[in-house]
Homo-oligomer: 393 residues x 2
């Protein structure tokens, strides 16, 4: 194996572990099974596209975390995680997609062997990577353990970003700027949508300023016309048409840290509906940014935005943003804070959000969004992309 | 909304539903909750990047399936699924990533309202998109239901491909050929790996012969040198080096149908270890292909390949292939058949596999693979990429 490549100092990993253990103590959990690849990365540095098989990072009562995963991925763990090799525990390949044995059967036996079988064990109950079958296996094979739902326990520890994390996000911001610049440069009537996507990937992957682009957790979204009322349709190979608006929901990514940013392009003469959506969004964005400061709550940003929308006669019933940072597919959100009424989480310096002001109306969609960093006194937009509806001929 | 865009005939969707119901009957299941986006797509046509929130297709005892998902994705369902609009059932946005309510709470109430609360209900227990919390919610809110594990029930119905599916896979094959041609054309010492990835994405996304490229379910894997002993590390922005081998594990994708194919490139004079791996792989591939014919079993391909490897002194302890077809992240495999000893599934005409012959040795990796279609009498390689170690000065 070649040398270990850590993205953060060992001190930073130690602080993360300590923060996590403090919260485990608070929840009276002795041991934590972390299934979320973003959390696995944040705790240990582990980075690989191996989350399609069962794997986990275990935070035991004392000492280093334990990486648990498929045998062929152990080398990847040795290469990317700061852990000592004895704490990288592989399982045999005949556990993969078997109907007879489950990787969690084996994890249970490991935990039992180490004397952890009767502990209070935290699990991420509502995580993509912790299936109903995984839980059933643990419950069956660790009958004396008490399981505690710790969904998002680690995610919450990630909310305030360190200087190095912010540095990576600034690189991601430069990348998303380049992606939007490429769109503005290349988009035209008659261009097949898949060819425009190729341009977006090109800018995203080559990166900027010596910082290469990593794969964003979501593929580019760029629905046009009436399809843009459906925000999560992906592209096709039909040509871009005159008289249609298209929004671009994309993110730059560097070292797995994301900065999402959306803009909307109209080919031809924009309809009044697009101009109205632009006015409402821009005014609302400013109002939301004014409310984005330490001491205020997440919901204050949403309420400020929704109040402006209401004056424009627009009702938005979906949340208007979420925490961002390190992530893996299928979502670049942190799945903790939401910018929506009722979320009273206090805004603190170092928190980062995608202020997702998208409007999905009956027969169109409109997105001009910002990724923001809460500073000591107010807010900073991480990327600098002209904040307007882009109109081309 | 613009017009409905179906990728298959209504007859084909009806046949798929009938096949699924037949298997449900066999398992004595009255109603099936399908969480896997590939299965949702195969049953209804639904296609969107919305699997980061809870969603499902319900196969009720009679009539059309029901799409269940986030409110903002209902338009996407109307646009891509053949279902009548009354069978597209959205949930409110305050269920999204809430700590107070779970989308499955609401699904349970819908099922109860329709009189399905006491049925035998199949669920995909070991699916990424069916979390432990989702199951706990259903169990809690449908106390009179009996739940039956139906993991991969639908996946198995997908094993034999229809003519239209094979047509889409042939387009995907043309795309993966173009991706490998691009690599052969562009790769050189000193090129940053992220720039090479940009070239791969460009070929993948623009597509060929009028068929645009869709996003593959896995990002390009291209580890070099000793890192290639870790098969699932993704790229970085360091330059390609002379004296190193790199394998490329990539897939073409069209209309969500995948054809994966791997090749290996050596920059400089290949070491004896690479030449030996090439000989063993090519000889083993031929042996495996000879065993790939109707009437034989999945394991026969693996045994033929492993026998050749053994003569070359190589032990491969991971499976050597899996079913392929329609898929979404994080995996382009179908998660049914495995080419490995013990899998006695009979090979039938229309089945498609990635014959994944990869060797991950202590300090190198080597992959020359084929995606194959079982024909009426033997086997066909779907893509045509020179089957050799590519050497560039």
């Amino acid at each position: 194996m070649s040398e270990l490549q850590l993205k953060f100092s060992r001190e930073e990993y130690a602080q993360r572990l300590e923060k996590t253990r403090r919260e485990m103590e608070h929840k009276e959990v002795d041991l934590l099974i972390v299934s979320d690849p973003s959390n696995m990365n944040w705790l240990t540095g582990y980075d690989g596209w191996s989350f399609y098989v069962h794997q986990a990072v275990i935070v035991p009562p004392n000492g280093e975390p334990i990486w648990f995963g498929r045998g062929m991925d152990a080398n990847g763990a040795k290469h990317t995680a700061y852990l000592r090799h004895e704490n990288i525990v592989p399982y045999a390949d005949n556990y993969v997609q078997s109907t007879e044995r489950h990787p969690m059967d084996y994890l249970a036996s490991i935990l039992a062997d180490r004397g952890f079988g009767s502990l209070r064990i935290g699990v991420e109950m509502d995580n993509y990577w912790f299936s109903a079958a995984a839980f059933a296996s643990l419950v069956k094979h660790l009958p004396n353990a008490k399981f505690v739902d710790c969904t998002a326990l680690v995610n919450w520890q990630r909310a305030i970003k360190s200087p190095t994390e912010i540095k990576y996000m600034r690189s991601a911001a430069r990348i998303v700027e380049a992606m939007h610049a490429r769109i503005a440069d290349k988009i035209e009537v008659g261009m097949r949508k898949c060819d425009l996507v190729a341009e977006i990937y090109d800018a995203a992957t080559r990166g900027v300023d010596g910082a290469g682009g990593d794969y964003p957790a979501i593929v580019p979204m760029l629905p046009s016309g009436a399809e843009a009322s459906a925000p999560h349709l992906t592209w096709d190979d039909r040509p871009m048409r005159s008289g249609e608006g298209t929004f671009f929901e994309i993110a730059g990514c560097h070292n797995r840290y994301h900065v999402p940013l959306s803009r909307t392009v109209f080919l031809g003469k924009p309809t009044q509906a697009f101009l109205d959506a632009e006015s409402a969004t821009l005014e609302g964005l400013e109002a939301g940014l004014d409310a984005a400061k330490p001491g205020n709550a997440c919901e204050d940003i949403a309420k400020a935005y929704f109040a402006v929308l209401a004056r424009h006669g627009i009702v938005k019933d979906s949340r208007t943003g979420y925490g961002i940072g390190v992530s893996y597919p299928p979502d670049w959100g942190e799945r903790t804070m939401s910018l929506r009424p009722g979320d009273r989480t206090e805004l603190c310096p170092g928190m980062t959000f995608h202020f997702m002001t998208g409007l999905w109306l009956e027969d169109m969609g409109f997105e001009i969004t910002e990724s923001i960093l809460i500073t000591d006194t107010s807010v900073e937009c991480l990327a600098n992309v002209p904040r307007k509806l882009l109109v081309k001929d």
